[in-house]
């Protein structure tokens, strides 16, 4: 019973128009549409797609170059940072050394100044002692001279009073003998 139904359906189907006929499709129109499409595609490719592609490639190239440049700059920045850190470390080391040297020099200078001050103080003390000693000696010499002068003066006065003419004559006689033997 099924077969007659299938045959009947096939006959009905054969009797119906094809899809192309049903939709009004014709080959010449399709070919013309294809040619028009190809022309439009060629024009679009020539004046639209190709410049856009070139522009995009240029932009891509520039972006790549920019990225590359940025990477190089980053590398350079890192190197510069490393170098600056190295310089800072070196500067810190140098500064520490300079500060140490300055402290050392200041200490040496202070020691030297202290020694010089001590030497000057000793020198002044020695000179003062020498001056005191000289003054003491001068005072003693002056006193001795004054005492001698007073003794001589007193002796002269005493002798002027006590010497008799006989004493003077005897002394003169002795002096005369002494002077004749010069």
């Amino acid at each position: 019973m099924t077969l007659p139904l299938l045959l009947a359906a096939a006959v009905d189907h054969a009797a119906q128009p094809s899809i192309a006929e049903k939709f009004g499709l014709e080959l010449k129109y399709i070919i013309m549409q294809v040619i028009s499409f190809l022309i439009v595609l060629g024009v679009l490719y020539k004046f639209g797609i190709k410049p856009v592609t070139a522009t995009m490639e240029e932009r891509n190239r520039k972006i790549a170059e920019g990225i590359k440049h940025a990477e190089e700059m980053q590398a350079k920045l890192a190197a510069a940072q490393e170098e600056s850190a190295s310089l800072v470390r070196k500067a810190n080391t140098e500064a520490s050394r300079i500060v140490d040297d300055a402290r050392k020099l200041a200490k040496e200078h202070l020691d030297r100044q202290t020694q010089e001050a001590a030497a000057k103080a000793n020198d002044l003390l020695t000179k003062a002692q020498q001056a005191i000693e000289l003054e003491h000696k001068k005072m003693l010499a002056d006193a001795r001279t004054e005492v001698a002068r007073l003794v001589v003066l007193t002796t002269e006065r005493v002798l002027a009073k006590k010497l008799t003419e006989a004493d003077r004559a005897a002394y003169n006689d002795a002096a005369s003998r002494e002077l004749t033997n010069v």
Binding site: E156, L163, E178, L179, V182
Partner: protein
């Protein structure tokens, strides 16, 4: 060209040499020199006379022993001193006595610039200087 002062000294020395006779000062020649200067009046005559006087005085002092004394000095002592000085300087030297009580006792003899001291004052002065 010598300076005027040097010329004066040279002329005075020349006059002084003319005043010597037998190595000693001659009064007659001194008088002659003075007369010559008075008569001719050379330039700077006063300065010449001063220099000449100085030379003559020095020469007189060289031939004279001034014996300063305190107290009495016997003439024999003066004679002995004059003889001793004559012998020492090998030129005639006369002694001249001059009293000086400041010596206290003893003698001081001057011959030119030389001084010989044998007095109490001299010994006291030496003692005072030595102390």
């Amino acid at each position: 060209m010598a300076s005027p002062q040097k010329q004066v000294q040279q002329l005075a020395r020349q006059f002084f040499r003319l005043s010597l006779e037998n190595g000693g000062l001659s009064p007659a020649r001194v008088v002659g020199v003075l007369e010559y200067i008075e008569k001719h009046r050379p330039a700077h005559s006063l300065a010449i006379l001063r220099a000449y006087h100085r030379l003559v005085a020095a020469e007189i002092a060289r031939g004279r022993a001034v014996v300063e004394h305190a107290g009495v000095v016997p003439p024999a002592g003066l004679t002995a001193i004059a003889a001793a000085m004559t012998n020492k300087y090998r030129r005639p030297i006369a002694s001249v006595a001059r009293c000086n009580d400041a010596l206290l006792a003893g003698l001081r003899v001057r011959v030119g610039d030389d001084v010989y001291e044998s007095s109490v004052a001299g010994q006291l002065a030496a003692l005072g200087a030595a102390v």
